[in-house]
Amino acid sequence: MIMSRIKKRLRHLPAYGIRGMTLYDAVPGKKYRIVRVEGGCKLNCRLCAMGLMPNEVFSVYAYSRGGPVCISVKGSRFAIGRGMMGRVFIEEI
């Protein structure tokens, strides 16, 4: 029980420097580029169709603490949930 809680907390910590920057580390107002998405085939296909591709530039424009973020990419806006955020690797530009 306790271990799983700690793990949960750890997962929410910024992963910067360990495996690279993810969506967790993105803050509103800055621009980022998607480096890669570790999602598996199905999810990759869906994200690509929505325009969330490697090399795509996006910005975060709304977020809620402990909740999802809203990003703006290719003229569309998407809400991305917590579970997803750690799988989207990004870099600041």
Binding site: R36, G39, C41, K42, L43, N44, C45, R46, L47, C48, A49, M50, G51, L52, M53, P54, Y61, A62, Y63, S64, R65, G66, G67, P68, C70, S72, K74, G75, S76, R77, F78, A79, I80, G81, R82, G83, M84, R87
Partner: protein, 715 residues
């Protein structure tokens, strides 16, 4: 006149304004059904244009032709199997790049296409200039500008589609996928074409691409057709995939998507120009407030509160008119029909039953009006975003919130709406708790009982019922997640559409559809049930010898006493209604319904229910609003008081307010209705449906018993 009906299929991204175009094309001549075997809604309409009979099919809104969701599979299989004469691809022209991603995939299928550049006004405002001639040549399809909400360009769209039909030759566009992928495609295609599972309608190149994308549906279909022989194809494909992974360091599906975007960018580069206007999106400005981390939830709560106020305060007036109308009708028919039984059947059974249900049509219509308004304006997606964190706590994500909120209107569309959840576990949990979002059909029961037993605080009592429902939804979501549906949440990705002013037309069509569905239900199922109930309440008829006391002779002696002047008129009337009351009660107990209720009464005694409440609850399985009409029949049958003191007084005479409240809770908690269970079965299978029925009944009984037994200590 042409000999055959032309079939046009509308395809497009969600939020591209596809539904508005469909409404413009077909007007009110729409038919809503289901695609065979799946639960995706199928909208179609038949129109005549310049002597052509045209069937228009509205395919579900999709981002691509992968197999990510049921909608995508349905749309793609419809195109491949039904082979529409023309595909009309609706494109949000203010967001070309993303929308054309679907277009490119449709082009690969090689069907005649018309590109509908919708929202031309928005694109113009954004300073987007499109060289239509060039783009049309590059994509080998005519381009028509439309503005959905203003109904501009609809005729031109149909004209262009008809013209495309007559064009004999279509150039098939092949997207270059780059050397590596193309090399692998060349290897896969010959193996595939020799393969036993290969069918005529599969386009070899397209299928090969799908195999590289590891499309589960295509793989399953090939496997199903060829069985063990599929291994041969699988070997080639997996070799190709690992080869690409090795040399490109990217998985094939990403490279394929990248090539498609590359093709689109290339085409747009020449034909598309965006003015460098630095204008902040109005949508983002509104979102800054509506999705604000502090204001988001209060605003959301306010909007939902306003919605309920709108539905119930505004709905009151037409309800009164309908009630008045039915009242007049019964009085009128009462005078005309002389045959006792027939009059009872029509006035008590049919008008009492159906009228009691029709009365709530305004509420249902207003609720769906409000939901359509929230959906079309784009707020619904924000609600899901805002609620995601809260929903996460109960083990669901924000998207679940949408079916749950629809559940407050009607559980049937809510179950269907659960399809937006891609993960099966998430979907099943959402469906299993959806019943606790008290649907519109249960509201009449609350209005009747709360109005009867707690007239001064009826609103608060009803609110408490809704709140208890929500609390149970939360508890059960957690319980189910911890027991039957263990596992992680599906990643949450959802588009937030731009805010738009909804068109009255589309909202009205939507509202009308739902209200009409409700009226139809009242006219068919509920009519039948009302008649059935009347028969159950009337037959077998009690004979004079079956009464426990000799009521007929009591009556005649009373008449004699009154006639000879021994008792006053007031005394006479009092004893008369006393005797008739007893007679009616025994008549009902003697009837089939009474017997069933009596048989089950001991089971429900711990909840404080008598056999009448048992009968009413059973009738509620047919549809919850029937409970009201059943109470009506239960207390008015037998023609005891043609003056009709009103159902409310009857209820007050018979039950303690605590029983009334317990009954409301019971009604809230047990599964919604027959129709919803049929949908549940279609969506989730027989096993899950039986689980739903079993656990909600058990929960309703336990909670009802607890409330009644604990409440009894205080009264």
């Amino acid at each position: 006149m042409p000999e055959k009906t032309l079939v046009f299929a509308l395809a497009g991204n969600p939020n591209s304004g596809k539904t508005t175009i469909f409404n413009n094309l077909t007007g009110m001549r729409q038919h809503v059904g289901n695609y065979p075997g799946v639960t995706v809604e199928k909208r179609s309409g038949v129109i005549t244009h310049k002597g052509y009979k045209i069937e228009i099919i509205d395919l579900p809104g999709i981002y691509s032709l992968t197999a990510f969701s049921e909608e995508e599979v349905v749309a793609r299989n419809f195109i491949l199997n039904q082979k529409p004469d023309v595909i009309i691809n609706i494109i949000d022209s203010s967001n070309l790049e993303r929308n054309l991603y679907l277009t490119v995939q449709l082009l690969e299928l090689g069907f005649p296409m018309v590109l509908d550049f919708n929202m031309a006004d928005v694109a113009k405002k954004k300073g987007i200039k499109i060289d239509r001639d060039l783009l049309s040549r590059l994509l080998d399809s005519p381009i028509i500008d439309t503005v959905g909400p203003r109904d501009w360009g609809t005729k031109e769209l149909v004209d262009a589609a008809i013209k495309v039909c007559h064009k004999r030759k279509h150039k098939k566009i092949e997207i270059p996928y780059g050397e590596e992928i193309e090399n692998e495609l060349i290897k896969i295609m010959p193996v595939l074409e020799k393969h036993a599972g290969y069918e005529e309608n599969m386009i070899a190149r397209w299928t090969a691409v799908k195999l590289l994308e590891q499309d589960s549906e295509v793989i399953d279909r090939l496997k199903g057709a060829a069985g063990a022989q599929y291994g041969e194809v699988q070997d080639v494909v997996s070799k190709s995939i690992s080869h690409i992974n090795n040399i490109m360091r990217l998985s094939p599906e990403v490279i394929i998507a990248d090539s498609r975007y590359g093709f689109i960018k290339g085409a747009l580069h020449e034909a598309h120009e965006v003015a460098d206007k630095e204008n902040i999106d109005i949508t983002e400005r509104i979102d800054a407030i509506l999705t604000n981390r502090f204001l988001g939830i209060p605003i959301f709560a306010l909007i939902i509160w306003m919605m309920f106020q709108f539905v119930f305060t505004l709905g009151k007036y037409p309800m009164q008119w309908i009630e008045l109308g039915f009242g007049r009708l019964s009085v009128l028919l009462d005078g005309i029909i002389t045959h006792d039984l027939l009059r009872s059947l029509i006035v008590d059974g049919i008008i009492g039953g159906v009228g009691g249900v029709i009365i709530f049509t305004p509420n249902i219509a207003l609720l769906f009006f409000a939901i359509a308004l929230l959906e079309d304006s784009g707020y619904m997606a924000r609600a899901a975003f805002v609620m995601d964190r809260v929903m996460h706590r109960i083990g669901l994500h924000g998207k679940s919130f949408i079916p749950l909120i629809i559940g407050f209107g009607c559980t049937v569309p809510a179950y269907m709406g659960s399809r937006i959840l891609e993960n099966k576990k998430d979907r099943l949990i959402t469906m299993h708790i959806n019943t606790f979002c008290s649907c519109g059909a249960r509201l009449p029961v609350y209005i009747l009982l709360a109005g009867t037993f707690f007239p001064s605080i009826a609103g608060n009592v009803i609110f408490s019922i809704y709140l208890i429902g929500i609390i149970f939804a939360i508890i059960m979501a957690r319980v189910l997640r911890a027991t039957r549906f263990r596992g992680e949440l599906e990643p949450f990705v959802m588009e937030l559409p731009p805010y738009r002013i909804p068109t009255l037309k589309s909202i009205l069509i939507h509202t009308w559809e739902r209200a009409w569905m409700y009226i139809k239900k009242a006219g068919t199922i509920i009519l039948a049930i009302s008649i059935l109930m009347w028969f159950m309440f009337t037959f077998p008829m009690i004979g004079e010898e079956d009464y426990s006391e000799d009521f007929p002779s009591q009556l005649s002696s009373l008449e004699e006493q009154y006639g000879s002047g021994d008792i006053s008129e007031a005394e006479y009337l009092e004893s008369l209604s006393g005797i008739e009351g007893k007679m009616n009660a025994e008549k009902l107990e003697f009837s089939a319904a009474g017997r069933v209720g009596k048989f089950l009464e001991p089971l429900f005694r711990p909840l404080g229910f008598d056999w009448r409440m048992v009968v009413a609850s059973i009738s509620g399985i047919a549809a919850k609003e029937v409970i009201v009409s059943s109470f009506g029949t239960l207390f008015s049958l037998g023609g005891a008081d043609e003056t009709s003191e009103g159902l409310q007084e009857k209820l007050k005479e018979n039950y303690h307010p605590l029983v009334g409240y317990t009954f409301m809770l019971f009604t809230l908690l047990y599964f919604p209705c027959m129709a919803s269970m049929a949908v549940f079965r279609r969506e989730a299978g027989t096993k899950e449906m039986l689980f739903q029925i079993g656990y909600t009944l058990a929960l309703a009984w336990v909670v009802g018993m607890a409330v009644y037994q604990i409440g009894r200590l205080f009264i």
